[in-house]
């Protein structure tokens, strides 16, 4: 009898070219996704007189610096976009440029275009590459030196991470989303709680998630310190992939399905760590501080540093000072200046549908920006009447890109302003210097838009789900 294996172990061995004596493995990369941030890596290659090794497995996209509003583009932003265009052209890489109907955020368009498939190893010079694990792919972010290595060799050196299973039993309550689940476990285990581990998410609550929800959950794995997140592919996955632009067809599709159906952890396969969560414990969740681990239920109170000890006390004190909050205040009394819906975490069509359900027939009392995750999501949202709901509520409907999640394109939150945001990071200065970010689901962002303060979305969605 063969030893039961985890999904991670199966994927790892399927990509391992060789293992060095020191335990480091050389892995084959099936898809390499590059964005504007790749300029250091291309410069490295150019200085060696090298070209991209496998241009047919490399795909470029303009997202971090993509302008999402009409008007002039600043010269340094234009230069970043042009540099990617130059590098893609020079190396025969398929580029999803600004005018391409497939353009969007790299972690949104990979799945959307059928570039992300179960069983693949996917790398990108972006930490949220963990997103693609939702399909049962080994997907992890890398740095610029590693991007250069992949461009040059189509391989990556990696030390095998330990495995961790996060099992979520039961069913998420109404209006409680994958975002709430992710913030919940990160708050419980810490922003470095899963460091050095590959997480597999399992359990009935995970099986019950749509592809969109799974992508959100895997996306945030990095915020809990994990190397990558994984969900075993199932019928939901296969139906999502079928018919996508770059997805296999005909006999290749049949062969793929046979391979993909074996992609699950064997019963009784052992993980290095196991965490069990009961889905019914999870309420709509928001962050109060400057790390995704600083999260609590919307019914909760901002912590009082005086009740904490050691380094935790100092972290909470600094976080509250930056965020301009008082110890012990109910989190749902915090007034918000603006909202943002978008990003690789929550800029997908389902996210926009849920936010629109909250906003339908209502007005936002604060300004806000809605940036769809891709040009295709934008088109679909307009066809479904969602864009009209956002605009009708008084929000700004923009083009696709990373936008106000990281502010590289100039979409920024002003210093001292407080933003309810569907993004992935509430770090100091992330959305702009001095900006105060509260992370939450797109539905919760929409609720904050309606009331002007952090708000439990559940009553607002009653009868609308």
């Amino acid at each position: 009898m063969t030893t039961p294996q985890t999904l991670f172990a199966k994927l790892w061995s399927a990509h391992e070219i060789m293992q060095r004596g020191d335990g480091t493995s050389l892995l084959w990369v099936d898809r390499h996704l590059v964005h504007e941030g790749s300029h250091h890596a291309f410069a490295n290659l150019q200085s060696r007189g090298m070209k991209v090794n496998a241009p047919n497995l490399t795909f470029g996209v303009v997202d971090h610096y993509a302008p999402t509003r009409t008007g002039d583009v600043a010269p340094d932003i234009r230069r970043m976009i042009d540099t990617l265009g130059y590098n893609a052209k020079k190396n025969d890489i398929r580029l999803f440029d600004l005018c391409d109907p497939g353009q969007g955020i790299v972690h949104v368009i990979g799945p959307e275009q059928g570039l992300t498939l179960p069983g693949l190893l996917i790398n990108c010079g972006d930490s949220h590459t963990s997103t693609h694990g939702a399909f049962g792919a080994l997907a992890f972010g890398v740095g610029a030196t590693e991007v250069a290595h992949i461009l040059a060799t189509q391989t990556i050196w990696q030390r095998r991470p330990r495995t961790m299973c996060i099992k979520v039993n039961g069913t998420l309550g109404p209006a409680v989303t994958a975002k709430d689940l992710a913030l919940y476990w990160i708050a419980k285990l810490g922003a470095d709680g899963a460091r050095g581990h590959a997480i597999e998410y399992a359990g009935t609550a995970i099986e019950g998630l749509s592809m969109e929800g799974r992508l959100t959950l895997c996306n945030l794995s990095i915020e809990g310190g994990a190397r990558l997140g994984l969900i075993a592919p199932d019928q939901v996955t296969f139906e999502y992939v079928k018919g996508r632009n770059f997805a296999p067809t005909g006999t290749d599709w049949d062969a793929a399905l046979t391979d993909w159906q074996a992609l699950h952890s064997d019963e009784s396969a052992a993980f290095d760590r196991e965490v069990t969560i009961d889905a019914c414990e999870i309420a709509p969740t928001v962050t109060w501080g400057t790390s995704p681990e600083d999260a609590l239920p919307i019914t909760g109170h901002v912590p009082d540093p005086a009740t904490l000890f050691g380094a935790k006390r100092e972290h909470a004190r600094l976080a509250l000072e930056y965020m301009g909050l008082d110890a012990g205040m109910p989190i749902d009394t915090v007034k918000v200046d603006q909202i943002f819906i978008g990003s690789c975490t929550n800029g997908r069509i389902e996210d926009l549908r849920l936010a629109a359900k909250v906003l339908s027939g209502r007005k936002a009392c604060i300004p806000g920006l809605v940036s769809p995750g891709s040009a295709a999501v934008k088109k679909q949202a307009e066809a479904e009447g969602l864009a009209q709901i956002f605009v009708g509520a008084g929000l700004e409907w923009a083009d696709a890109g990373c936008s106000m999640c990281v502010g590289m394109n100039g979409d920024l939150v002003a210093a001292g302003k407080r933003c309810a945001s569907s993004t992935n990071r509430n770090f100091k200065g992330r959305q702009g210097r001095g900006a105060r970010t509260h992370l939450m689901s797109p539905a919760m962002v929409a609720a904050a838009a309606v009331t002007g303060h952090l708000t439990d979305v559940r009553p607002l969605l009653e009868g609308r789900l």
Binding site: A43, A144, D192
Partner: protein, 196 residues
């Protein structure tokens, strides 16, 4: 890149947890080309907001002692460039962001893990001052302010730091194995190739 085995210099303490890569280098500086030097961007906003910031008080910092989850967040290697260009050669913390740690080793910066108690002891010991320190990779040992701290270092990382090795050159010796793997994968899993 040239490697190193021993360094001697000054250590300071940055007594904060979760110093993420967005803080280490704010996104707006990342379109700058490297040849201009990234040292001025290191913890830029924190240093501007606080004249008394540890990196304003101590311009020559070789070794940084800090709290958990240092370098978490974005994969931006520019965060490491900022540290390296500032002059930092080693960071000691209870935990690092995984991607940051790899980026560090690829740029000659030692990311050494110590347990929390050891870090707290060093932070207390250093306080607001800077202290004399040395790091010896050959024996995985540092002496910070007279306190001896052994640390664990993956053998491959030790080799890369000591030799200043570049992975692209290293991988070239496996070209044949890579080609074989590639051919076999395409035969066994033809669906793994993008169609359009």
């Amino acid at each position: 890149m040239s490697g190193w085995t021993k360094i001697a210099g000054r250590a300071v303490a940055l007594a904060q947890a979760n110093v993420d890569t967005d803080q280490l280098i704010p996104a707006r500086f990342m379109s700058t080309t490297r040849n201009k030097g990234y040292g001025g961007f290191l913890l830029h906003d924190a240093r501007q907001d606080d004249a008394d910031h540890v990196l304003n008080r101590h311009k020559c910092v070789d070794i940084l002692v800090t709290r958990r989850n240092f370098g978490g967040g974005s994969s931006r290697e520019a965060a490491v460039y900022a540290l390296v260009d500032f002059g930092v050669k080693a960071v000691f913390a209870p935990s690092f962001g995984d991607i940051f740690q790899s980026n560090a080793v690829n740029n000659g910066l030692l990311p050494a893990v110590l347990d929390t108690a050891e870090i707290e002891l060093l932070i207390d010991l250093i306080g607001d001052k800077d202290v004399v320190a040395e790091v010896d990779l050959s024996v995985s040992r540092a002496v910070i302010g007279g306190h001896v701290v052994p640390f664990n270092l993956e053998p491959v990382w030790q080799q890369k730091l000591v030799n200043g090795w570049d992975d692209i050159d290293l991988t070239a010796q496996y070209n044949e194995q890579i080609a074989e793997f590639r051919a076999a994968r395409l035969v066994a899993h033809p669906w793994a190739m993008p169609t359009s």
